[in-house]
Symmetry: C2
Subunit: 338 residues, 2 copies
Amino acid sequence: MAHSNTRPTSRDVAQAAGVSQAAVSLVLGDKWHGRVSAATAQRVRDAARDLGYRPNLAARNLRLGHTRTVLLVVPALTTEFFAGVYTGAARIAAQHGFGVVLYPSPEGVGPARDPFASAQAALDGVIASSMAADALTTIRGDQLPLVMLDSDPQGSLGAATVNLDIADGVRQVTEHLLGLGHRRFLHLAADVPSWTFEVRAHELATRVATVPGTDVRTIRAPLTFEAARAATEAALTTPGPHPTALVCDDDKLAAGAYKALRRHGLHVPSDISVTGLDDLALATAIDPELTTVRLDAELFGERGMQALLAVLDGREPDRSDIPVHLVVRGSTAPPRPH
Amino acid sequence: MAHSNTRPTSRDVAQAAGVSQAAVSLVLGDKWHGRVSAATAQRVRDAARDLGYRPNLAARNLRLGHTRTVLLVVPALTTEFFAGVYTGAARIAAQHGFGVVLYPSPEGVGPARDPFASAQAALDGVIASSMAADALTTIRGDQLPLVMLDSDPQGSLGAATVNLDIADGVRQVTEHLLGLGHRRFLHLAADVPSWTFEVRAHELATRVATVPGTDVRTIRAPLTFEAARAATEAALTTPGPHPTALVCDDDKLAAGAYKALRRHGLHVPSDISVTGLDDLALATAIDPELTTVRLDAELFGERGMQALLAVLDGREPDRSDIPVHLVVRGSTAPPRPH
DNA sequence: CCACGGGAGTTATACGTAACACGTGACGGC
DNA sequence: GCCGTCACGTGTTACGTATAACTCCCGTGG
């Protein structure tokens, strides 16, 4: 059964339910009590669900004369401070049926109530990080063009994908450490359900396994500073030979690990080498400065956008991976001769 | 001359210019060549400017069936990484006449083309940080309800205001340092055109001036890690007695200063005490952990939102300042006895 | 003198929704 | 027997814009 390519409207729902458009509006707006029978209301709701109906917010906003969306202007997105401001504002807004849109000063702007309830009001497409996977089923509910940032290679969602070459980054890290002479690795892995972190662990293990006499132990921690400290601390107190190199899935984890190492009187890099991944500002704020892999976030964003434009245009998006580069700083050195 | 309270529409412009609404649409859409005389086109543009006309984007979107706005889903706003992703995506988007909206996974969302060109499509009001002052004249161009975060007390924009009690934070810092016995201060000030930073400098100077035998020297640096390091380094190489306490306008500046102090062989806090302001995660990542003033960003956001809701409701917003609290950590200690 | 073309506009319409103002039976009370 | 009321809807309109289709007038070539 071929059906129209355009999104269903409230009139389509009305026709399917055998009622007028006005009745649909009443029912879906929850203003039907005493105006429409419960049975009819249910028929309308069923029809709306079956058709996958989503109200057109542009039309609604036009009709209503307001949008229940406010704008938050902040100096930049880089500060945790304004991230918090946003979170607080969004929470209260949600309690009042409002949405919040971000506009980071000279460089950028944001959405509303429910991600798509408000966003869809004005969207031609979606760019999504695979780390926000929980929202993805919702996204697929709409049939908006979608581009994934760092999705799995199989593209399980059938969407276009832009990938950082994380595997190559891990390869560069392990080459560097193996070249320095390290053989006993501790891997501080991010405990998040994301494919990008899986590849880090997998690549590290296979890379190291090719060199005789090496071993790697993996510990997991949620992606926070404090969790990383605690996990590292726990690993240091277990018996057995100490690792000479600590490979972290992320700079923030490395910063947390620094703290644990310091408490145990271990000096970086003479007692143990440490590496991160991301090259955040944090990497140069800590002492010693962190050897890490630079990910070009801006390029990642640009490539994501270009891919979406391609999809909207009916063109084939560029599928090549984005290269990443090892940045060697003071946190890695040859292991102390035994 | 009393005029309507509602926003002017293209029909109002048409009436003012003595043409039809269609002509206005043609001229403003830059599709008038060969259809409207140059003189008439100019009359229309003048009328639009005089009335402060801004097209209703909800109507436009409804008519056009698209919005030239895409959604960027990211895990959270706290990471510099995704801030970069956003910046890159927004840049490319802008080049194509698209806007980008942010949706930080389970906690929050973002904007478009020109901040208000796209945002206004769906806005009932605006919350703006005073640090994004460059955008404010644009905001006032619309007559949207506006709430300022940390505006000047005179409220020069005539908008509602929510303030953190920064002055009290500075007072707490100076009391703390004076109590420890410090008398020679170096103030590392943020070199940004913002009232909030002015108050920090002013409050520090007046507070310190009340104690006999004290002095304070101020140096300025842009709000970046590297600039703070360079400025501190320069201050340390100038002749004269060394300060015993370094008061920074912001945690990030303090982290930069740490680096400069380390290079000069100065130990924190035994050689010099250091304080910050914000209490970012960074404050506990560096060694020693930073004595700083905690600003409750989320509460700030909540209060901003509540104020806006009040304005929209015709109520008087709560004008009380938000309290802040000194957090004493390892970066402050009594000065070394001379 | 007429036909034709192009310049300079105007008129009319549709986008999808929300909500106001009606309509239509059926039933109950007096 | 008639009116009021209630349950259950429907018809219609307006929101502000962009654009296709139309009108009108003037100049010009044949």
